[in-house]
């Protein structure tokens, strides 16, 4: 029986819970029996060693919040095999996720996360501790949502040197740029539209200034390119200065514009910036999609593409890590 603890019960945490509930049969045929022994939010938790009733926990969260023991107390007092860490991202401190992850690993639990903060701030430290404790670390959901880039690089491209990754890693920016191009609207017009559609946050700076893309780039550089990168290594330029005319001028030369995150091991740089792309370039994708072009020494160029965010999309990436960890052989 696999005991799962879910830390953070927002969109992603609840998405994971719903999937664990709805697809129990299919998942148990892959990994065997499981139970969720704790779910927590910023104020408290629901804990049951015999398995929390997830539908009730979701109900309770919808009506208000949890009370009782907070996440740190739960980590200390409860036994679990795997922590699913899905609290908010803070790329400066990594908290609260960083402490949750380190404490869970200390206890000998495997960790799966969609939270970029801890990995951006302390990738090496987390990885070392996980190795020392002999636990697994899954973070497919931190980069590109469902786009299966980390496992692709680690498993399917094993033995390759990844020389360059260029990607569209932020769906919000890609949506805004695509709409500006198609509708000839200004940046601020499209931004309000995106905010209304909940594609952009009320404070959009994290996305539009390129910070989110840079965080994902740092994770990729560390995880699959061995670049030993920190956030400050990334040169970051966002999309806020792109003019509507820019697309017309670019189109005359058969170009379009996208926010591209590039980790270049050959030339040794990390950069997020708007770039000109030939319109038929594989990264010239539209809407909220994410895509990445991976340049390898043996396999040549590979392109992956997928939905960049969303409750179930992100849950899917987390579940894929879970299945990878516990798949019955």
């Amino acid at each position: 029986m696999i005991s799962i603890a879910i830390f953070g019960f927002g969109a992603v945490g609840q998405g994971v819970a719903e999937v664990l509930l709805r697809k129990r049969k299919q998942l148990e045929s892959l990994i065997g029996k499981y139970k969720v022994v704790a779910v927590t939010d910023s104020k408290g938790s629901v804990v049951d060693e015999n398995g929390v009733e997830l539908s009730k926990a979701i109900e309770k969260k919808k009506k208000g919040g949890f009370d009782g023991e907070k996440t740190l107390g739960v980590i200390e007092s409860l036994d679990f095999d795997v922590a699913i860490e899905v609290t908010p991202t803070d790329v400066n401190s990594g908290e609260p996720g960083l402490t949750h992850i380190l404490k869970s690993i200390e206890k000998g639990a495997d960790v799966i996360t969609s939270n970029k903060g801890p990995l951006v701030v302390a990738f090496k430290k987390i990885k070392k501790l996980a190795e020392k404790k002999g636990v697994k670390l899954g973070y497919e959901a931190t980069v590109g949502g469902v786009m299966p880039i980390i496992k692709l690089a680690k498993a399917d491209l094993a033995g390759n040197d990844i020389k360059v990754i260029k990607g569209v890693l932020n769906g919000t920016c890609n949506y805004i740029l695509t709409r500006m191009e198609k509708e000839k609207m200004t940046y601020s017009q499209v931004l309000s539209e995106a905010q209304e559609l909940k594609i952009a946050e009320a404070d959009p700076s994290y996305d539009v200034e390129g910070i989110d893309s840079a965080a994902k780039l740092v994770i990729l550089a560390n995880a699959v390119m061995d670049m030993d990168a920190i956030f400050d290594d990334v040169e970051v330029v966002g999309i806020t200065r792109i003019t509507p005319e820019a697309f017309e001028v670019a189109a005359n030369k058969n170009y379009t514009i996208r926010l591209i995150a590039e980790a270049n091991k050959e030339k040794g740089f990390l950069k997020v910036s708007p770039r000109l792309l030939p319109r038929n370039h594989p990264l010239a994708i539209e809407g909220t999609m994410n895509a990445a072009l991976i340049k390898t020494d043996l396999a040549g160029d590979i392109v992956v593409m997928g939905k960049g965010a969303g409750k179930y999309e992100t849950a899917s990436a987390i579940i894929s890590d879970l299945v990878e960890f516990y798949r019955k052989r």
Binding site: K166, R241, T243, E245, V249, N252, R258, I260, R275, L276
Partner: protein, 168 residues
């Protein structure tokens, strides 16, 4: 398309330049840059002007130079510049206010790279304008060097430089 550079000596009088440019355009030349070398004024008070233009064919260039000579223009030098690496970049911001011709001449004055084409859109005053520059250089490395210069210039003038994805 070969790119040709000629240096002609003109009297510092109105109409001189036009009468030189006309045979070039007529002969199928596409004018790229015109640089007055006022610092190299001759004892006879002539101003050397370097004109670069692209032509379909090297033979067109020869014909154009013949034509210029026939019209009495003093052609000091005539070269084909071998620009083999080309890229397009976009610049967004207060391009004109921050001295566009200076931005371009920082590239052109390298001797190994040139802005061979430019499309500029200026919306209302005070709104940022957008320009697409096509830069050619004598080789891939030189093109990279030219881009480095442009990156610096854009940084110091607070212009947004949008580079192509297939970095040179």
């Amino acid at each position: 398309m070969p790119i040709i550079s000629v240096v002609v000596e003109l009297l510092d009088k109105p109409g001189q330049l036009l009468s030189t440019l006309e045979p070039i355009s007529r002969g199928g030349g596409n004018i790229l840059t015109i640089i007055h070398q006022r610092d190299k004024i001759t004892p006879l008070k002539r101003v050397p002007v370097e004109i670069s233009f692209s032509v379909e064919d090297e033979r067109d260039a020869k014909r154009i130079v013949e034509k210029l000579k026939e019209k009495g223009v003093i052609v000091k030098s005539y070269n084909e510049i071998r620009l083999i690496a080309t890229t397009s970049v976009m610049v967004i911001g207060h391009i004109v206010k921050t001295d566009l011709s200076d931005t371009i001449s920082r590239i052109d004055s390298t001797g190994f790279a040139e802005v061979i084409d430019m499309e500029l859109t200026m919306p209302e005053v005070n709104r940022p304008s957008t320009a697409m520059l096509t830069i050619s250089a004598t080789g891939q490395e030189k093109l990279e060097e030219a881009l480095d210069i442009l990156r610096e210039v854009c940084k110091s003038k607070n212009l947004l430089l949008v580079e192509p994805i297939n970095e040179v």
